[in-house]
Amino acid sequence: MTAVWACVRTDLRSRRRAWLGLALIVGLAGAVVLTAAAAARRTDTALPRFMVASRAPDALISPQGNGLGDFDADVAKLPEVADLGEVAGTPLVGIDAQGHVDPQLASPPASVDGRVGYDIYRPNVLSGRMPRPDRETEVLAIGTTAKRLHLKVGSRLTLVELSAEENNTNSFDPRRDHPRHTFTVVGVATMVDDVATRPAASGTHNLLLTPAWFKAHGDPSNLGYSGAFVRLRPGADLARLRQEVDQVASRHPEAGSGVFFSTYADRYRAERRFTRSQAVALGLFAVLAGAAALLIVGQAMTRHLASGAADHPTLRALGMARGQVLAASMIPAAGAASAGAVLAAGLAALASPLGPVGTARLAEPHPGVAVNLGLLGVGASVIAALLAAWVALPAWRTASAAEPASGASSGTATGWAGSVTRAVERSGLPPSAAVGARMALEPGRARTAVPVRSAVVGSVLGLAALVAAFCFVTDLGHLVSTPHLYGTTWDLGLDAQSGFGSFSPDQVGAVLASAPDVAASAGGQYGSLTIGGRAVAAVGLDDLRGHLFPTLLEGRRPAGPDEIVLGTNTLRRAHRSVGQSVDVDAGAGARPMRIVGRAVFPALGRGDFSATDLGEGAATTAAVLASPDAPPGSYNFMLLRLAPGADRHAAIVRLGQTAAGSGCVPGQCPAVTPRPADMQSFASVRWTPVVLAGLLALLAAATIGHALVTSVRRRRRDLAILKTLGFVRRQVSAAVAWQATTLVGLALLVGIPLGLATGRWGWALFARQLGVGSETSFPALAVLVMVPTALVVANLVSALPARSAGLTRPALVLRSE
């Protein structure tokens, strides 16, 4: 070992700076990768950690009447319930500049018993603090409301109090003298269920008023709603809980005739899918950046090792064993890789406040520096191990050399590369093109070795990824902008009191009578079904005029109360297929229903609560979900498809007027059915794949640039010879430009078909996961633009190396070489 250490000491003494430089490069590149990986992990875990910190509710139980007090106390005693907090929608509203009720400032909730917001369903306070429970004028501003109204800590807000009559009829009489309440915003926060899937118009996610305000001003006879946020015991049976809640309600007439029961599991899943998609994107970036960094840094280390291998034959001749020479090569390399990896972990820890990214940042309960020791430790170890493994084989080869590399083996382009260079030579292109093609594809040997393979592979992968990303984005854009692909086969929807009320048969008739330009219409009931022990958002639909149903991917619509259509994911989870039966509980006990179809569901649901979502959901006939006391022919909502050529705006105005007295909330009805939450999520990160692929393409450009710079430096003798043979400066520069053009040309030739195939495969996979049809489109424009852009970028990248090559002084180079 003494001999090995002597060699190592000599190497470190003579090439100390170079090894330090390499360690620094490893550290910086590794820091980018580890920072991204740690941020991805933090992004992915932010929501679950927020859920734990928030003590997120599992369900909302809201009777039609007043449930505060005794009803809620009895619910709290049910065996499935672990914890409960009471909330009430206050009769307060915000008035906009035009004197109208602002739907987003309607019925702000108050924490009735001081538990909601404080012990259960705790918000993530982004700035300021929670309102003190004993201060009636302090208020917490939440989510989009704070953003839209520019509410900050210290902002003052005045709300007016509606009378019970106004509150019950969803009306506002501006001539009336309303009591006014002024609040001071003491904190801005996010709730656990609206991190990503923001409610469009909601009275449940705007402000949080204190128990002190409710105690001073709350009137049980004048509430927007009352409810209890419930945390369940592990393994609680939801179907049983619903039955028990109904039994409790039957003992409390003040709670009214029905109980709205909404679980939050689907919503959390949607939230998680959204933040996870961002985490996956960042994780992918980390992987891609890691691969590119390994490619570039590994090449640099290999070359550095090779440059120190000149003495190996001498060392072998002096009696050192191959293993000893290998160890003498590997120890400094492994040392540099390890030092770089430690540096990378340190820098990543310092950069940790950059995570989480995107909307998950809103959910992060502990922002700032967060050192994930496990991830950074494993990451740093992987960096050191991968780099050591990368250089081990070349180090073994050079350690095996009994004679110095003489360059006797040409390192010429053979096989396909040789064919390409010969094709270019015979194409009639100028000599610089033929020389450039050779330089692009010949790896060279020993001192003229150039990372040709990594440049070719890197550029092919970069362009393929870009094409695949454009394919994916085009298909996603097509899905997002084509309503029937995400299930919406109608133009407008009308909700009776945000879906909590009902259109009577007369009101349904009036709406249809006022809309001669409606080609098809359906009436529906919102609801929830328990399928395989899981709550599934569901709709019951009856045709009112013509035929109207969400987009069917397979089978047919239900024709009777024993038939059901499921979303792709719901079907998959139930381990069933179309044609089979499944046990379904609509609230009156499980019974078998025949699955007659598979459909894509848009977002159909009451208010902000559990809605169908692409592959998630179920559809039956309306009777299955209608409450027992609802008159036949009444519906929570109506769906309308206008006749071709109908004036959409006029229809909206007319339907709005007709339905105004039917429980339609002004400003929210009629409305276009919102896109499913998943669609909103993916639409918001639609360009992420392109950004990531763009980064990869940038790395590919860097790889090409690196190959060009290396090539010019290591082949300066060849360039000098070309000059002695009569190449002028411009031709030498052009040869380098052709080198870049050849690399990118090849990358385009291989990368475009590869990217198209990958993009289509990826989309088909993604569409299957979403539960939509896998209709694909071709990103023709993107591909057409990409070809010249890639060539221009390659030539821009080659500009500096080409200039440097053109300035080669043959006499000087040939003398020194």
Partner: protein
């Protein structure tokens, strides 16, 4: 006509801030069809003279012309075009393009000079045949022996039928047999009328030339015909002294 003519040629390099006078006023005339050996010890300036004659470097002072055309004041590109038309260079260490085949190495100068690939390859095959390398046309230069490699370099130098072949220690990297092979080739070329200027430090090698120009310390020291002078030799040489 003189294929190479220098008058008062000087070249001073800067080496680590110190001026190094490589040539201190050299006058050389090489006639058409002449085979001249420039001889001298290491560092005497003979390779510098060759580089200036090839247009690979520019003189600090003095005149130099090839085939009657002055090289002074020409830019890099003009010098490159001059090389295409008039000069073939043979290096001590061959300086072959290892990534190209034997045939491609020889054809390349003609392609650079504007010949079609077909014409260039046809001429290259003729040259390889002439130099006994026809069967190696598709080989990589790396598989050839030293003598074969230098013959290949000579073939490449002849690709454009140059007015003047400049050879820098063409036998310096070869064994005795290889060196003899190369000298015999130069003699044959010279016999066919090719003008050659060969730099060497080996008196035996120099003896193959019509005339020997001896250099020392950047100056022409002596010029005399070797023992067996060529009847075509028309020797003129003189050395200028430092001002």
């Amino acid at each position: 006509m003189n294929v190479l003519e220098t008058v008062g040629l000087r070249k001073t390099y800067q080496s680590e801030g110190v001026p190094v006078r490589a040539l201190r006023g050299v006058d050389v005339h090489v006639a058409q069809g002449e085979f001249v050996a420039v001889m001298g010890p290491s560092g005497c300036g003979k390779s510098t003279l060759l580089n200036l004659a090839a247009g690979l470097d520019s003189p600090s002072d003095g005149q130099i012309s090839v085939a009657g055309e002055s090289l002074v004041g020409r830019d890099e590109n003009q010098l490159a075009r001059m090389r295409r038309a008039h000069i073939g260079i043979v290096f001590q260490f061959f300086n072959l393009l290892e990534g190209m085949s034997v045939l491609e190495n020889v054809a390349l100068p003609a392609v650079i000079a504007g010949s079609s690939r077909k014409q260039a390859e046809s001429r290259a095959r003729d040259l390889l045949d002439l130099l006994g390398l026809a069967d190696k046309a598709k080989s990589a230069p790396g598989v050839l022996s030293g003598g074969q490699r230098q013959r290949l370099a000579i073939a490449r130098a002849l690709a454009n039928k140059p007015t003047l072949v400049l050879a820098d220690e063409p036998t310096g990297a070869l064994d005795t047999e290889g060196g003899a092979e190369v000298l015999e080739l130069f003699r044959r070329l010279h016999a066919d009328g090719q003008s050659i200027v060969m730099v060497t430090h080996d008196r035996e090698v120099a003896a193959a030339a019509d005339r020997i120009v001896a250099m020392r310390d950047g100056r022409i020291e002596d010029g005399s015909p070797p023992a067996a002078t060529s009847p075509s030799a028309d020797l003129t040489f003189r050395s200028t002294t430092e001002a």
